[in-house]
Symmetry: C2
Subunit: 398 residues, 2 copies
């Protein structure tokens, strides 16, 4: 049984804050400053250029990739970290399109995180052929998987409502019609159990700054099914993915049969030290325990809000099995209300037009946080604190 | 007059080491650990998600971009940092090609850093049209600039020999025939004076982990001429370059008229704290002083080696005005000899087949370092220390 009191104690949450935004940016693990300081003073400073060998910097893309991959059921050697999620989406979809060269449709949905759609738009423009990006409503995706589709690109958990796609069903249908599947697991990894191997996805990508707690802008990851590693086209063909990166040949040859070919340029090694510290916390976490606790805390939060906070309407799927690990509510005055919550130390976030969103992250959130957050929301609603002038003005970045 | 004793004291160079590899990975500024710790404990830890506003994380791509841009003569608002150099090369060349849609030739040279060529290879495959990448010898580039050429992509300073292209002459000829120019300044920034504005380049890219000393895998940068900012096509069209990144629209609209459109995904903010600390050192450095001292130290190094080290042959241009800030020598036993040098605390590097390369970095290298390094090399050659068995085996990463 995972000890969640122990994992909670591993984070340095600000005194008096109830942090329900770990789905957006995780809090700092207590070990992060020492891990980073050790990288700076025991690696970069004394080793300098030699650190690429002596401290294994060069292969941290892979050793950390394996540790990230374990959390989504990926086999060792099928995941690397580096770059940003936008770049990894581009790589995966570009590779997917090259596997089905005679088709012209990319299927996503209008609930996908916008940057995934934007990167595909850019890719389609580069391709100099008529491609089409279809974005139906999420519930119409299954019907849209036809033999016109080259690549199905979906985010498993909707960043707004928390609604979860049926990964296995999508992959089965896509493969049956000859389409390639790319999953964005940004809101899944560390949030819900995922088994990319059992589900047999082609590609999966995600980030490590949300539920994995590796810091703002922490590295992204990409997983490629073992069966594709020998043929997958990297598209972003940088020296770090070359068969012989230190031969300095003028021609690109992707590393044969290995996930290394999805590496692009020289990654930030400093950012890897934070990722490594953050991953340590996951060593003793059982994802099924985490899921059970996430559902328990979410159900408590929803029922308390529905009982005590009139006008605030739950906006996600009622069945917890169909949700990820954040919960969303619609409220007419969602924006100023969220500002009032934040001012009172309860941190969630707001997504236009009227959604108040809260991350339920069992690694560091417990029952008393949940009840405490609802207490604050109830008080704000009762005293109409959100009407105060200071909560009415939108900041530039919400 | 720049005080180089003062800048030298700002670095934490290991005791007894003569570090002639700042052209590959710069040493750690003494302020780096405190700067990073302040980011971790005074920004991420207490501010969490709010840090994107309160600590200005969101715009550090631009504020740091301006500070980097100043070192290459770029106007404020024309440079951003983020991603890796490979990604920035891809962005620049893709944008360049879209400006000259009727041409099919990309001109580089066979002395360019290989990843620049690799990224263009990948881009050409994506484009689904017949493109051609020409890589003549560096001295034949000028003659190759014809009206067939869409994009001229060059690294100003050759990573092997230190040979420097004539940036202004290349740009003038390229513009005269209607071609777009992309400069890779990885081996120029912080090494030689560059004025991208006066030279009127279209694009410039580079990294910050070499002469700028921001740590292994530190962020890359891209500069775009002001005159192009309204029309340039980002190709890698991520949310961070969107006109309204927090509107979460499903369609991409590049930030109008601003360098922001060349931002892609969420950058590592931790890596920015190291970059900021490293840039502080440059505040009081005059690039002309630095260049004069780089030439003085290089000339001393070359003449001492030629006098005292028979068999070791200078491999760069004789005229210092035609070199960057590293010097290279051919030596039949270059590989084991460099191993012996490194074992003796003189750090340079080896580039196949026979080049020993040394970075001359006046910020932290002085006359006595230069003379001390030659002493060690002379001793190694005289005693034939490089013949020792332990120096003969190649490590996997050289």
């Amino acid at each position: 049984m995972t000890d969640f009191a122990k994992t909670r104690a591993m984070f340095d949450i600000p005194e008096g804050m109830i942090y329900l935004n770990g789905n957006s940016l995780g809090p700092m693990p207590k070990t992060a400053p020492a891990a980073m300081n050790s990288f700076l003073t025991e690696e970069w400073q004394p080793e300098l250029i030699k650190g690429w060998n002596t401290k294994n910097w060069f292969m941290q893309t892979n050793t950390l990739g394996d540790r990230v991959g374990r959390l989504i059921g990926a086999a060792p050697g099928t995941t690397v970290v580096g770059d940003t999620l936008s770049i990894k989406v581009f790589q995966a979809v570009a590779a997917g399109l090259s596997m089905v060269p005679d088709r012209r449709v990319i299927l996503s949905d209008n609930g996908n995180f916008p940057t995934d759609l934007y990167m595909v738009e850019g890719l389609m423009k580069l391709k100099n052929k008529e491609y089409e990006l279809r974005i139906p409503n999420p519930e119409d995706v299954m019907a849209g998987i036809t033999d016109e589709v080259a690549v199905v690109m979906l985010t498993e958990v909707d960043y707004r409502t928390g609604r979860k796609h049926d990964m296995k069903a999508v992959i089965e249908k896509a493969h049956a019609v000859g389409a390639v599947v790319v999953w964005d697991l940004a809101h899944s990894i560390g949030a819900v159990p995922v088994d990319v191997t059992e589900a047999d996805t082609d590609f999966a990508v995600g980030c490590t700054y949300k539920y994995l707690n590796a810091g703002p802008g922490a590295p992204a990851f990409i997983h490629v099914a073992s069966r594709l590693l020998n043929d997958v086209d990297p598209a972003l063909s940088g020296w770090y993915g070359h068969e012989a990166p230190f031969a300095f040949d003028t021609d690109y040859r992707p590393m044969p049969g290995k996930i290394d070919r999805m590496r692009v340029g020289t990654p930030s090694i400093a950012s890897f030290s934070l990722l490594s510290a953050a991953l340590d916390i996951w060593e003793d976490v059982d994802m099924n325990d985490l899921r059970a606790r996430s559902i328990e805390l979410s159900e408590l939060f929803i029922s308390e809000i529905e009982t005590r906070c009139p006008g605030v309407t739950f906006a996600g799927p009622r069945n917890p099995e169909e949700r990820g690990s954040h919960v969303s509510f619609r409220f007419e005055h969602g924006y100023p209300c969220m500002q009032a919550l934040i001012a009172a130390g309860v941190i969630g976030d707001f997504r236009a037009p009227d959604i108040m969103r809260f991350g339920i992250t069992p690694l560091f959130i417990n029952h008393s946080d949940i009840l405490g957050a609802v207490d604050v929301l109830e008080r704000i609603l009762k005293n109409e604190t959100w009407k105060e002038e200071r909560f009415q003005t939108r900041s530039k970045v919400t």
